[in-house]
């Protein structure tokens, strides 16, 4: 090996590098620009992840906007209350009480068990890619389950659970909203972490169609609307909408929901609690809805039933399949001759 190359190359390149480095070092002092010290301390207080949740391109430009344009100091979602207080201290402002912590929530419970796969998919493993085609999952509104949200999450707060649905780690989530933007089906929402109940379904299909495609979907039975003690729930597009201001977080809607699509937040262990409560509820009630002999066979109840539990047995007599019935009482209100009642 010819070492003479090294002997020439290393010192000459090294000297050249040192020369330019020295020149730049001198220039950086000579041409230094004095920045507003406030901007620097705000920039230090900010998380420095440049997520863009504040609406500015990065933490540095948000700091600049606070100092020079008087931007609001509570826009940093990942930083939360702590950062807000630090900025307030720098700017000499009051924080004005605590702001509500927010988290992202997946508004879908259509996991692998609850929904049906209609087709095999061997294309690009991405929700955004598959959403251009028809859905492979039975529900046209539900989670596609390829985890685009997981990829985009800068905090690794989302992971895929064993049932094929992304789950959000509420501790790690900073509500930066990247997953909300990424999700092609718009089923991830930023909610206040103090909000206690929500309907985790985005399907605007009618009840009978929902129950065909997903076991956990909202069938628009309106039980939650009927049972809400403060009338905070209204139905829009076959989905319950909860008025946060009037809602008292009593949890009644969660109890009565036949498909468990109404859930309590945060989801610590929804399945265990939800199931036992629902079962206890059923047992204590002990009643069954039946169609009496007054039935005239009009079929109004069959159309109204969101779970297809009602079928014709004779010409002018219908019967309710008790295994399917969720006791939503829709048939009772629909029956023109009051032939349906609890027994």
């Amino acid at each position: 090996m010819d070492w003479s190359n090294f002997i020439k190359a290393i010192p000459s390149m090294g000297a050249l590098g040192a020369l330019f480095a020295g020149g730049l070092a001198y220039a950086s002092v000579k041409f230094s620009v004095k920045e507003d010290p406030k901007k620097e301390s705000i920039n230090e207080a900010l998380p420095g992840i440049d997520c863009g949740a504040c609406g500015y391109p990065g933490c540095a430009s948000y700091a600049d906007a606070i100092v020079n344009e008087g931007a609001e100091i509570d826009l940093c979602q990942p930083g939360g209350q702590e950062v807000k207080e630090e900025i307030a201290e720098v700017m000499g402002l009051e924080t004005g009480g605590s702001s509500v912590e927010k988290v992202a929530q997946l508004m879908c419970q259509g996991d692998r068990e609850a929904t049906v796969y209609q087709a095999d998919y061997h294309g690009i493993a991405s929700c955004n890619a598959i959403n251009m085609e028809e859905s492979i999952k039975s529900c046209p509104y539900g989670c596609l389950g390829f985890g685009d949200c997981i990829e985009v999450c800068p905090f690794d707060a989302i992971y895929m659970n064993d049932k094929g649905l992304p789950e959000i780690d509420l501790e790690a989530c900073t509500a930066c909203g990247k997953c909300v933007e990424e999700c092609p089906r718009d089923i991830i929402e930023i909610v206040a972490s103090t909000q206690e109940v929500t309907a985790k379904c985005k399907s605007i299909l009618e009840g009978s169609k929902v129950s065909k495609v997903c076991e956990n979907g909202c069938i628009a039975c309106t039980l939650c609307e009927q049972n809400c003690p403060v009338d905070a729930i209204t139905m829009e597009n076959n989905l319950p909408v909860i008025n946060d201001e009037t809602c008292i977080d009593c949890g009644k809607c969660v109890e009565v929901c036949p498909t468990d699509s109404m859930v309590e937040l945060p989801l610590e262990s929804p399945e265990e609690e939800g199931d036992t409560e629902a079962e206890a509820e059923e047992e204590s009630q002990g009643d069954e809805i039946v169609i009496t002999e007054d039935c005239v066979g009009c079929g109004a109840c069959e159309t109204a039933c969101p779970v297809d539990a009602i079928a014709k047995i004779e010409d002018d007599q219908y019967e309710i399949d008790q295994d399917k019935c969720v006791q939503c009482e829709k048939c009772i209100s629909q029956c023109p001759v009051d032939a349906i009642e609890y027994q």
């Binding site: 020439k8 190359a9 000459s12 390149m13 050249l16 590098g17 330019f20 020149g23 730049l24 220039a27 950086s28 041409f31 230094s32 620009v33």
Partner: protein, 193 residues
């Protein structure tokens, strides 16, 4: 002693006939990226001209006194990139100090002059063409002026274009590239000079 005619020829060749953008297709990125408004385009052109001229001078020194005497021509990419990035850094500091609005308007494209292939192309052509010190300086200046010329023409056309009724599929980048192509054809006419 100094061949003024030859220098003028080098200048005209670098700036018009062999315009770096329109004839050699180098430095397309800032050409498309910073050509939305004339003032910004002009200051981008000035910054690039500054870097090109100073780099050309420095590249000539590095080439003549370090690379050639030590037989290190194979290191020219490394050495030239070092020169260019240092001068881009210097330009950035100066622009930031002298004119914060221009610094803000140029944004990411200022540090990106480092990766502007027009400048490395210029640096690599100096040893190939065998220019002396003055010729190199004029060559760098000419290339910078040519760059400024092209980007300012482009920017003024795009300013007018903002009011034109461009068909929807051609809006934005497509129409810009079409214009660039037409400009390039126009500049091809100079090669007969």
């Amino acid at each position: 002693m100094v061949d003024l005619g030859g220098l003028l020829l080098i200048f005209m060749t670098a700036s018009i006939t062999n315009n770096f953008i329109l004839s050699q297709f180098l430095g397309i990125c800032p050409f498309l990226g910073v050509s939305k408004e004339v003032p910004t385009a002009f200051s981008m052109g000035l910054a690039t001209t500054f870097v090109m001229t100073t780099s050309a001078i420095c590249v000539w020194f590095v080439n003549s006194f370090i690379l050639v005497p030590f037989g290190l021509e194979y290191l020219k990419y490394v050495a030239f990139i070092l020169v260019i990035s240092s001068f881009v850094q210097l330009t950035e500091m100066i622009v930031r100090k002298v004119s914060p609005p221009i610094y803000k308007a140029l944004g990411i494209f200022l540090p990106l002059i480092t990766t502007n292939c027009a400048i490395l192309g210029l640096a690599l052509k100096i040893p190939i063409n065998g220019y002396n010190f003055i010729e190199s300086t004029i060559y760098g200046l000419g290339a910078g002026v040519g760059f400024t010329l092209a980007i300012v023409i482009m920017a003024s056309m795009r300013e007018r274009l903002a009011f034109a009724d461009v068909p929807k599929p051609l809006k934005g980048a497509p129409i810009t590239l079409l214009i660039a192509g037409l400009m390039s054809m126009a500049f091809m006419g100079f090669s007969g000079m």
